[in-house]
Amino acid sequence: MSKNLRFDILRTALAIGIALFIALVIILFASKEPFTAISQLLIGPLGTVRHFGNVIEMTIPLVFTGLAVSIMFKASQFNLGAEGAFFFGAIGASIIAMKVALPIVVHPLVAILVGGLIGAVITGIPAVLKVKWGASELVSSLMLNYVALFLGLYLINYFFRDVNAGAMVSLPFLETANLLVLIPKTRIHFGIFIAAIMTVIAYYYLYKSKRGYEIIVTGENIKFAEYSGIKTGKVILMAQLIGGFIAGAGGATELLGMYTRFSWQALPGYGWDGVIVAILARNNPILVPIAAFFLAYLRIGADLMSRTTDVQNDVIAIIQGIMIVLIVATSFLSKYRHKMIFNEAKENLGETAKEGK
């Protein structure tokens, strides 16, 4: 088991290395000032407190969607509705934040809870369609993301728009709703604790509880799970409801922590980023924060690079794609793995032979 883990870490590290190397080569060719660009990308976020703060700020939503996708992927459900759940959860939370008067502390918590429940509905729809009628959750969740986007915009633009604001934004949130900023000079907010709590709960749920075990078994071999008496339909549904809840709560947290009005006019993309985070973390909740931090670091580095040099931050997309492919590729380094297993077996054999004497 530990050998497997070591191999996973090695492979992930190598995949990241190769992806970064390819990106650096691209920058070398595309830029007139490649060395400034590369140094901005790699160590730029460490430059000032504010920039490092930006990394942490971005880590928070990525932890939420990373956890959401991890749990759904763990059940082998390719539900990509985390994007829509995150967005619509944020919409729901904004409406609570704008229109419902509640005392301090309770207000954001209620808003986040509502966001989570709405998120669960968004990922729950494809889950129900899958369990009940066998419709592919992949395609229906993709479609539903667009429905969530346009319905959400409809709600905000027609019912909650601030006509005096001069831009397409909602009315301001009530002051009781905003999450506390923790560290001055940054926007790091209380949501970081919520993300940490979610991570711990997700880990214990998935690896230490009976329900979590059912999710894992169902994800690995649904036939086996069925024969062992697990109600797989229920498990599949559950995993996606939980995933959607986390994503929706994430959208709510992001909005209440970072904004004072709802101002998104497009899907923010954190759902797709959640897929990257989940893959980097190998769907293990405890590794999700590390993966999220890594991705956020790359993103902020790329932003700084595009702000100070002639290289666009979109180069990061190429790094991400290569990372995903290599980390998931089962045959990448498989020869090395065989060798490792072979050597281990040989050693064990030698030992048992000695003991035999």
Binding site: S136, S140, Y146, L151, V275, V315, V325
Partner: protein, 310 residues
Amino acid sequence: MNQLIDIIFSASFGYAVIRVTTPILFAALGSLIADRAGVINIALEGTMLVSALTGVAISAYTQSAWIGLLAAMIAGGLVGLLLAYFSLNLKTDIVLSGIAINLMASGGTVFVLYLIAKDRGISSSLPSLVLPKIQLPLIDQIPVIGAIFSNHNVLTYASLIAVLIVYIFLYKTPLGLKVRAVGENPDAADSVGISVIRVQYFALITSGVLAGMGGAYMSMGYVSWFAKNMTAGRGFIALAAEAMGGASPVGTFLTSLLFGFADALSNNLQSLSVPAEFIQTIPYIATIVGLVIYASRKTAQINKIKQQEK
């Protein structure tokens, strides 16, 4: 309501339906070929983007729309090849490979766009060309019918012909038989000496070329420029159209047309007083409903067969 009916029964609406169906139809046919060979091509969306940009860039550079189209098709084929390499050689899960390609395509096209056009949103600074429209002789003269079916982009007619070609290919050629055999049962196909991996490679590359034609249409026919993420989920809608069309060429054509109808409707209703955001959900909701109907019909069929067996 009357206004709505007036819109739907006008010749210009019929024309619009065909016009917006084209990219979906190309991508759906691409999805079809891959699906029949037992591989899901979820990278259609990214493939279309890559091809749309390639078409614009090459047509601007060579000042020939046809070379631009050819380059877009080659680019689509290469993306298909990449997907095949990831999933068949590196053994990366094909859905995740597709997601990876889509991510790379949506960011990569913007990156390249900035390099060649010095703009992160749109390619209007490039002198790119569009593919010609074609007046159909005779049909052009018929009232209403002519207005609906004539004077479309050459790729629109190509997409209709492609339905026929895909049909003939799948059901009347030895290679098409191999594709279907691999998709139905790869082990059985392998046992009679068909190289499964080769057939799947072929299917994914062809799928990429078809999606590439859809992409070329987007930037060299539907509009005359490339814009960031201009495909707006059409690659995903195509997946749904193909699934709903029962993985048959004719069925896929009809469902693509249905999505084209929803798309055209949402374009047209925006001129009425209905909120635009509301209307824009139509194609996606139609897709979900269609998908459920198709899937439930299929499970009902399977249950029926199971009962008969008992």
